[in-house]
C-alpha cells in the first residue's frame, strides 16, 4: 500500500483515453443483445423438434444464419467485455490478471471465429 495520493500516482501519465470505449461498446452490445438474445431463445423454444434435420433446416432457412452469426459475434464480444470487468475486479495479482485477461480475449475470439465458421458451414451446406 502506497501513501502517495491517487492524484500523485496518475499525474503525468495522462489518461489512456480508452475507458469510455469499453463502457460504450458494452452498452452497444447489450442493446443489440436484447433483440438478438430474445430472438435466439424464442426461436429455439419454438422449434418443433431438436433433431438434426429440423435444426439444420432452421439454420439454412430464411435469415437465420446471418442473425445467428450476429448473435455469436455480439454475444462473444459482450461476454469478453463482461469477463474482463470481473477479472479486473476480483483477480488481485497483476501477473495472474494479465494472464487471465489475455486468455479470456483469445478464448472469446476463437469462440466467435469457430461459431461463425460453424454457422456458415451449416448454412452453405458443405456438411453432409
Amino acid at each position: 500500500m502506497s501513501w502517495r495520493s491517487a492524484l500523485g500516482r496518475v499525474e503525468g501519465h495522462g489518461s489512456a483515453k480508452e475507458g469510455v470505449s469499453h463502457w460504450w461498446v458494452q452498452r452497444l452490445t447489450s442493446v443489440a443483445l436484447i433483440p438478438l438474445g430474445c430472438w435466439f431463445v424464442i426461436a429455439l423454444l419454438a422449434l418443433p423438434q431438436l433433431d438434426y434435420s429440423t435444426v439444420a433446416a432452421w439454420v439454412r432457412g430464411g435469415w437465420t444464419a446471418p442473425v445467428l452469426i450476429l448473435f455469436v459475434i455480439v454475444g462473444a464480444w459482450h461476454s469478453q467485455l463482461g469477463v474482463r470487468v470481473v477479472v479486473e475486479d476480483y483477480v488481485g495479482d497483476v501477473g495472474m490478471k494479465t494472464l487471465a485477461l489475455a486468455l479470456s480475449s483469445f478464448a472469446h475470439i476463437v469462440l466467435a471465429a469457430i461459431g461463425v465458421f460453424a454457422v456458415l458451414r451449416i448454412a452453405l451446406g458443405s456438411a453432409a
Binding site: L45, S79, G82, V85
Partner: protein, 141 residues
C-alpha cells in the same frame, strides 16, 4: 456512526463517483449487482454449450446425434433452467443499467424499488421460458 446514505449521484450537475472509502452499498444494490455479474458469467459458460451445439451441427447428422444425446441429458436440462434464469435476470438487470445510464432512477429509493422489480420480472420471464421448454415445443421430448 453509519456511512452516509447517498446514491453517490448529485441531484443536478455533473455525475460524481461515490467516495469509495465511505460508500456503503445497500443490501439490494449489492445483491442485484453480484447477481448480474454471476448471471453474466453463467451466460458466458452457456456460450460454450452454444458453440458445442453449432459445431456438432456443422459436423453433420452423425456428430449431431452424439451431441444431442449429451445435450438432452438430465444434468444439461438443469443447466438450461439455470441459463434461462441467468438470461432473464441479465436481461432485466441490463435494461435497469441502461435506464441508469440515461441518468434516471439513481436515487436510493428508486434503485431499491427497481432492484425488486428486476428480481420479480426475471423470475417471471424465467418461469415462462422453463414452462415453455417443459410443456411444449422441443424441450418436451
Amino acid at each position: 456512526m453509519s456511512p452516509p446514505e447517498t446514491s453517490g449521484a448529485p441531484p443536478r450537475g455533473r455525475p460524481l463517483s461515490p467516495h469509495m472509502s465511505i460508500y456503503r452499498m445497500s443490501r439490494y444494490s449489492l445483491l442485484s449487482s453480484i447477481s448480474n455479474r454471476f448471471a453474466g458469467l453463467l451466460l458466458s459458460l452457456g456460450l460454450l454449450l452454444l458453440l458445442y451445439w453449432l459445431i456438432s451441427l456443422a459436423e453433420g447428422a452423425r456428430a449431431y446425434a452424439g451431441a444431442h444425446a449429451v445435450l438432452s441429458s438430465l444434468p444439461l436440462k438443469v443447466i438450461y433452467a439455470l441459463l434461462a434464469l441467468a438470461f432473464a435476470y441479465h436481461l432485466a438487470a441490463g435494461v435497469r443499467h441502461l435506464v441508469w445510464d440515461t441518468g434516471h432512477g439513481l436515487s436510493r429509493q428508486q434503485s431499491q424499488r427497481s432492484a425488486r422489480w428486476v428480481f420479480a420480472i426475471a423470475l417471471l420471464i424465467a418461469a415462462v421460458l422453463i414452462w415453455w421448454a417443459l410443456f411444449s415445443g422441443a424441450g418436451a421430448q
